[in-house]
Amino acid sequence: MEREILDPEEKGKKVKCLSCGSPREGFFCYDCHTLLPISGEMDYFAMLEVEKRPVVDTARLKDNFLKMSETVHPDRYYNSSPEVQELALKCSSLLNKAYSTLKDPKERIKYLISLETDKEAPVSSRASTETMEFFIEASDVCSEVDAFIKKKGGDESLLRDYQKNLHRLKKETQDRWKGMTNEIETVDKEWATVSGENRKPLLRRLLVLSHELSYLSKLHSLIDELIVGIS
């Protein structure tokens, strides 16, 4: 089964405000304080008013998200017409989706790649050998711990060993994650200096990084689950 995010919105770059008729961008007509139909052309970066590049200002991202939520959330249109309520639900859902995509570096660069190359980033691909090796080593420990948890109860000292091991792996996963995000920052610095075709090599680097991050994030949630499970 293939996955596709349905785009519920009509196309058109600028949209007309439903009540005053003037062409607008964004969610909200500040002149007459009404919601706007969503433009299909607007990407998540534009929506949240941050620069379209590999690294975003997360504090600003969050501030904008909260501020925009204040204006588009369905709670604000509770006594409006059903059409406006439906629109608020759409805007708000889209805004939530945009924020959850941009705040996570892995999702953010995947999304950026899909925007820049006009197609979805391939879902599964290999990471670097080094990451793969770490992934395999960590997965082995994880499945051992998993078996230990399923057996329920057991050697106290073994339990403590496992806990120590899990925390060590978690730390290492986080360190590696940090390393990857540093690399994304390096790419980001170059990003501003080139444009068009010249960004292709950068996109390729980002693609590899996104694979690495996918593995690490999977591992991280697996380790988290086991740390909770073994407690």
Binding site: E4, L6, S69, H73, D75, N79, E225, V228
Partner: protein, 605 residues
């Protein structure tokens, strides 16, 4: 339009509140009390008594006094473990049926019972405000699934209330806390009530209350601790020569009352004297229960709240140090051991600034005012507590909306056909965190119909799942090729009409007559099934070692028992189970020898 009230529909107590003069306040009920017991007693006559009056009926009329019904909301027969059946009123429902409560041969769904409580709160609010009240914000445990939320909404509708919003209890409490403090902080809300446990992590910033994560257990609460205490006291009674009283409902209700009182008392004192006179004509219970003993009994139940807390912090990507305050909600948080555990988990003493019984209702009242537009500098961004997904090939669950996604949210999935000219596709929708769909909660199925005949894989039907701000799911299907759209109705087994349920129950009464008889039959069958399957295993393995007539005797005993099961004849099942046990005595010893031999041989190899 009238004003909107906030209602905390609790397992043990319910509370109504309203905003007045910019502050939320609890509405006292007709007896002048701030908490109304969520108890409904059918004392005779058509209209039941509700609240405090009903609570007083619990001892006199245990079979017709319904309490803790929240545990049964939106649940199916198959989900109710035997121990949950351990309430003093008759509860029926097996398999896919909804749970229902039988009073005077009339069947009540849990939402009907809850509606009685809501109706009382509505009436009391009307008396207090001097105006009609027909709109409410009702709270639910954060970890409630879609079916439980829908059942709660339905209860409101039955009570004549337009349910303007369903909000999560810990979030509501956070709202009440944050409004008071006007702070920017990350807070943990630890909500341990009569029947449910929730933990939510909130990030409060400039009036926006953003829930980062939530976790919980909708079947864990003070009730479980009371049940432990009752079992303990029953044992003490038996040891003291009072005999086994576990089957006596009236006595059980008396013990329950005293167990509850003792539990509450031990939150403030080190020990409590339990004295229950004349449990039988010759036996009175007198026992001095210490807090230490109580903690020994309740310890593992309280400990079970730890894991969800850790999970919630992990999901929020926070450590205890990142959390500025932890607040306590729900009556069970008065237990000192609970406070200790919270302090241990979060590394800081909980903030005791809010009233654990009232904060949820106050938060609901605040949200009511947000909806009516009276508060515009405050906003709630909540999450969906459970992952939503669909069943895929091989019985796996494919997650479409992961847990802790901010609501409202929409997600799409594209479906196609598996064979040529297929005209309909059935989609099975699930909620939960387990890999296999069978381990998750089934929300129901829906059918994508009227697909234009085409080769397999050509039709493209987009299905959009929307979780609204109530946390409730809506499904919209769109044929991508033709552009036709339609709202898809999910068929949930819990959506059966009331008449159908009544019919189901009537049938079950005819078979079982009395509730005790049903229970007896159930127990007898359980035992019989055990013996039958053991016999089958043993026969497969060692049947050949038996004499001809021994085998015949076993076969006879077996078919006698199977026939008795067929007839639902409890007495017969019991008798023939004994017979079968006798007939298989030699078989059992043969099996033992065989197995011993095998072990030795394995050891040699």
């Amino acid at each position: 339009m009238g004003r909107i009230i906030g209602i905390d529909l609790g397992t043990t107590n319910s509370v109504a509140a309203i905003m007045e003069g910019g502050r939320p306040d609890v509405i006292a009920d007709s007896e002048g009390q701030r908490l109304t017991p969520s108890v409904v007693a059918f004392a005779g006559g058509e209209t039941p008594v509700i609240g405090h009056a009903a609570n007083r009926q619990r001892i006199l009329n245990p079979k017709k006094t319904v309490y803790s019904v929240k545990r049964f909301m939106g649940r199916r027969g198959s989900e109710i473990k035997e121990e949950d059946m351990f309430v003093s009123y008759p509860v029926t429902g097996t398999g896919e049926e909804p749970i229902s409560i039988l009073i005077d041969e009339k069947c009540h769904l849990p939402e009907d019972i809850s509606a009685f409580v809501l109706k009382k709160l509505k009436g009391d609010a009307e008396r207090y405000l001097g105006e009609t009240v027909d709109r409410a914000v009702i709270t639910v445990p954060a970890y409630f699934n879609d079916a439980q939320r829908n059942a709660t909404k339905k209860a409101g509708e039955i009570a004549g209330l337009k349910v303007e919003r369903i909000i999560n209890e810990p979030t509501a409490a956070g709202l009440a806390y944050g409004l008071d403090k006007k702070l920017d902080a990350k807070i943990g809300v630890y909500d341990f009530g009569g029947g449910t446990f929730d933990i939510s992590i909130l990030d409060i910033k400039k009036g926006v209350f953003q829930v980062l994560s939530t976790c919980g257990n909708t079947r864990l609460g003070g009730d479980d601790i009371v049940r432990r205490l009752i079992d303990f006291l029953l044992k003490k009674i038996e040891e003291g020569g009072g005999g086994d009283l576990s089957g006596n409902l009236m006595v059980l209700s008396r013990i329950r009352e005293d167990a509850e009182k003792a539990k509450c008392a031990l939150s403030f004192q080190e020990e409590v004297e339990i004295f229950i006179p004349f449990l039988t004509s010759s036996f009175s219970l007198k026992y001095r229960l210490t807090r230490k003993e109580f903690e020994y009994l309740a310890g593992d139940i309280i400990e079970r709240t730890r894991r969800p807390c850790l999970q919630a912090m992990m999901d929020a990507k926070l450590t205890p140090d990142d959390i500025d305050e932890v607040i306590l909600v729900g009556g069970s948080t008065r237990i000192p051991m609970v406070r200790q555990l919270v302090e241990e988990i979060f590394g800081k003493a909980p903030d005791a600034a809010i009233n654990p019984d009232e904060a949820v209702a106050l938060g609901a009242a605040i949200q009511a005012n947000v909806l009516s537009g009276h508060i515009s500098n405050l906003l709630l961004l909540d999450v969906t507590p459970l992952s939503l997904g669909i069943e895929t090939y091989g019985g796996f669950m494919n997650v479409i909306i992961p847990r802790n996604t901010t609501v409202p949210t929409k997600a799409g999935e594209l479906f196609t056909t598996a064979v040529d000219n297929q005209q309909a596709v059935t989609i099975h929708v699930l909620q939960g965190e387990r890999q296999m769909s069978a381990d998750n909660w089934s929300l129901g199925t829906f059918l994508l119909e009227d697909i234009e005949p085409a080769p397999a894989g050509v039709p493209r039907i987009g299905v959009q799942f929307t979780i609204d701000a109530d946390g409730i799911l809506h499904v919209l299907a769109r044929d991508v090729n033709t552009g036709r759209e339609k709202l898809v109705q999910m068929k949930s087994t819990l959506d059966v009409s009331k008449d159908a349920v009544e019919e189901m129950v009537r049938e079950s009464i005819e078979h079982g007559k009395e509730d005790t008889a049903k229970k007896e039959l159930y127990d007898a069958r359980l035992e019989a099934d055990k013996v039958l399957s053991a016999t089958k295993k043993a026969m497969d393995k060692c049947g050949r070692l038996l004499e001809q007539e021994e085998r015949a005797a076993i076969d006879k005993a077996r078919s006698d028992l199977e026939e008795a099961i067929e007839r639902n004849d409890a007495a017969g099942i019991k008798d023939f189970t004994v017979n079968l046990n006798k007939a298989t005595e030699r078989l059992a010893s043969l099996l033992l020898e065989e197995t011993a031999k095998e072990i030795v041989e394995k050891g040699r190899r």
